[in-house]
């Protein structure tokens, strides 16, 4: 082996070591445990497909997986729309870098308080006697408070969008800032309308950012369980809650099987998205 070659292997070794110990091994362990069998308090090494059979045979599990995917798609679409608009505004309509940074920092506000505090603070806003309902009632628009504002699919979705739009804004804003402004001027000089510039220049050049943001949002929404539990008042379940329920009841093998299926479905989704855009080439 040539010396330069050996050096690069050595340089890569520490990171590889860390990834193997802290990422690959735990995942392999989860896969292994998913074939174990369990009773109420103990689980033992085994190789059986009972956990998977139960999972795929359960109508509730199918429904929960469906709901998780649906939630991920809705949240993805909304965060993309909002995130792209915000990034576009910051990158192309704000002239000075000082204001760009100041407004960019404003988008991080949802992360200034803890998750729990954010969840609780939705109650006075969206609750039966909350601000929204009181305003609508006193304006004469509705007679009865709207129940679906809180502890519903709507509120879960709202909380996700509120939380995760930032993960769209950051990468999209970043790629937009790198777009050569002269390209836009050239398009304009060639007679392109504002909309044509958006669809033919800016969106194609922002694709890597959009894709990175999308991966963040989809992976986060699909793996969440706390937001769904609090915002739906425990009435809705996603895959994360199935896993956390299993863990809470010491059914580790069953939790591991669900985790493996979730991991595979998230990887497939992201794999499909990467087929659409080659991030490495575009960066």
């Amino acid at each position: 082996m040539r010396r330069a070659n050996l050096n690069s292997w050595l340089l890569a070794a520490p990171l590889t070591g860390v990834l193997v110990v802290f990422l690959i091994l735990p995942i392999l362990l989860i896969v292994a445990v998913s074939f174990w069998s369990a009773d109420e308090f103990s689980f033992r090494p085994d190789f059986q497909f009972g956990n998977y059979a139960y999972l795929f045979g359960s109508a509730v599990a199918w429904k929960v997986f469906g709901l998780t995917f649906m939630m991920a798609i809705i949240v993805w679409a909304l965060t993309l729309l909002i995130g792209f608009t915000i990034a576009y505004f910051l990158a192309f309509h704000i002239r000075t870098q000082k204001w760009q940074m100041a407004l960019f920092l404003l988008t991080t506000i949802p992360f200034w308080t803890s998750n729990i505090i954010r969840m609780i603070s939705w109650i006075p806003l969206l609750g039966k006697n909350g601000l929204v309902n009181q305003t609508l009632i006193s304006a004469g628009i509705i007679d009865e408070p709207l129940q679906w504002l809180l502890y519903s699919g709507f509120s879960v979705c709202l909380a996700f969008v509120h939380l995760y739009t930032l993960f769209m804004v950051v990468p999209i804003f970043n790629t937009m800032m790198r777009i050569d402004k002269s390209l836009i001027e050239a398009a304009r000089d060639s007679g392109a309308s504002g909309f044509q510039i958006l669809t033919n220049v800016i969106i194609p050049l922002s694709k890597p950012g959009i894709m990175i943001g999308s991966i963040f949002v989809i992976a986060l929404v699909m793996s969440d369980f706390v937001t769904t539990r609090f915002m739906s008042g425990s009435q809705l379940a996603n895959v994360g809650r199935l896993i956390s329920n299993d863990i809470g009841l010491l059914q580790y093998p069953s939790a591991a099987a669900t985790a493996v299926v979730l991991l595979i479905s998230v990887l497939l989704t992201i794999g499909a998205m990467l087929r659409l855009v080659d991030i490495r080439k575009e960066l």
Binding site: V60, L242, L249
Partner: protein, 421 residues
């Protein structure tokens, strides 16, 4: 030392010296060492109060680190991570689940100074000699084992306890009388369509299933041979009724932790729900009317106690026994009684409560002056009477105990389906 006029400090000194003398030839060394002892207590939130840890430091000198978890999480930790705690502050139904794992050690009652004063419910199951023992996992049925190392429960007082009892109570539904505006007297009201979108039940399977059973029985929909040990058929019927109600929009939310139940009730999102006593106190402390409604079918009861990790030995074990003796000596009992719980050793707790407090909380008498919560907020004005009345009125009407059933695994799966439905 006179029996009637002892001070807690004297008792502790006596107890400490006795423990020290038996364990170490030189008590001086022990007295210095104990300051370094740190006991890690994992438990349900019901009795994890910072005031208790502070008082332990002040009275006993060592450090108590408390972790409050929900019931499922504490069960999980007690069963799978015995090295992560020294003291398990758990309920008796959790003990029934955890004891067979061998992660807790049996405790010698001869080391418990106030053993004789522990309420009968925890020793032979009888509140009064005439009491009938309610269905479910009654504390005395899992309170004793044959001896150290034994993993099966003893049928009677064997001298070795699984948990040293500390706390118990009778639970019922909490209501918002101002928003309901009519008398409520039955568990069946939880599923009354009148409260559509305004009801809640707790999402802890072992406790929730018992609330469900009380409701289904009160509605006349299901007749149970034994609510505390249902057949799969009874479980299906019970959860089926609630799944239908859930789909029809009866429930506003489910709650898992104490503070969630307080928020739901105080904000008016929910007007009738499963609730725990201090949650009622917390809602009232916010100035919101809330009643712990006695119901004609009786109460769902629970008891809790302190267990010791099997790995606890030597000096920390002695410190743990000292902690238990201190726990039963009255200060904590008085503190818990003011939260609306009952102390397992009422006699000693009385010494740490005013006559008026004792009258209000324990004897069901009208308060002579303001009743103040442990945090100092006035929760009742003079003349108020506790919901449900005296100790005997409340604990005498227990219909079932929180339970772990033979078909527990089946029930848990069905419960998960109910939550996800």
């Amino acid at each position: 030392m006179s029996k009637m006029h002892y001070s807690r400090r004297n008792v502790l000194k006596g107890g400490a010296a006795a423990v020290a003398a038996s364990a170490f030839p030189a008590p001086m060394i022990w007295a210095q060492n104990i300051k370094d002892v740190v006991l890690r207590q994992a438990g349900t939130g019901v009795s994890a109060f910072n005031e208790v840890a502070a008082k332990v430091k002040e009275d006993l000198g060592f450090t108590l680190e408390m972790t409050a978890l929900d019931s499922d999480a504490v069960t999980q930790r007690a069963a799978t991570q015995p090295d992560s705690y020294d003291i398990a502050d758990i309920e008796y139904w959790i003990c029934k689940k955890v004891w067979p794992t061998g992660n807790l050690q049996a405790m010698d009652i001869s080391k418990i100074a106030n053993y004789d004063k522990i309420a009968g419910t925890f020793r032979d199951g009888k509140l009064t000699p005439e009491s009938v023992i309610a269905q479910g996992t009654a504390p005395h049925t899992v309170g004793f084992v044959e001896g150290p190392g034994s993993t099966t429960f003893a049928t009677q007082d064997s001298g070795w306890m699984t948990l040293i009892p500390t706390i118990y109570n009778a639970d019922t539904l909490g209501i918002r009388p101002d928003l309901i505006g009519r008398p409520i007297d039955s568990w069946a009201e939880l599923l009354n369509p009148e409260f559509k979108g305004k009801a809640s039940i707790l999402d802890i399977s072992s406790i929730g299933i018992m609330d469900m059973a009380m409701v289904c029985e009160a509605m006349g929909e299901v007749t149970y041979a034994d609510k505390g040990n249902m057949t799969t058929d009874e479980i299906d019927k019970t959860i089926g009724i609630f799944t239908e109600a859930k789909k029809a929009g009866q429930f506003r939310a489910f709650w898992k932790s104490f503070d969630e139940s307080v928020n739901l009730m105080a904000s008016g999102e929910v007007v009738i729900q499963s609730m725990w006593s201090p949650a009622i106190t917390a809602v009232r402390a916010q100035g919101v009317p809330c009643v712990y409604q006695p119901l004609k079918e009786g109460y769902r009861s629970w008891g809790g106690g302190i267990g010791l990790s099997a790995g606890l030995t030597g000096l920390p074990l002695d410190a743990a026994y000292e902690y238990i003796n201190w726990y039963l000596s009255g200060w904590v009992g008085g503190f818990l009684m003011r939260q609306g719980y009952y102390s397992a050793v009422p006699e000693t707790s009385k010494l740490f409560m005013s006559e008026d407090e004792w009258g209000y909380w324990y004897e069901g008498k009208a308060a002579a002056g303001d009743i103040v919560s442990p945090s100092g907020t006035v929760i009742e004005k003079a003349g108020a009477i506790r919901d449900g009345g005296s100790f005997l009125d409340r604990m005498g009407k227990v219909a079932c105990w929180n339970a772990v059933m033979d078909e527990n695994q089946y029930m848990v799966r069905k419960w998960n389906e109910f939550i996800a439905a």
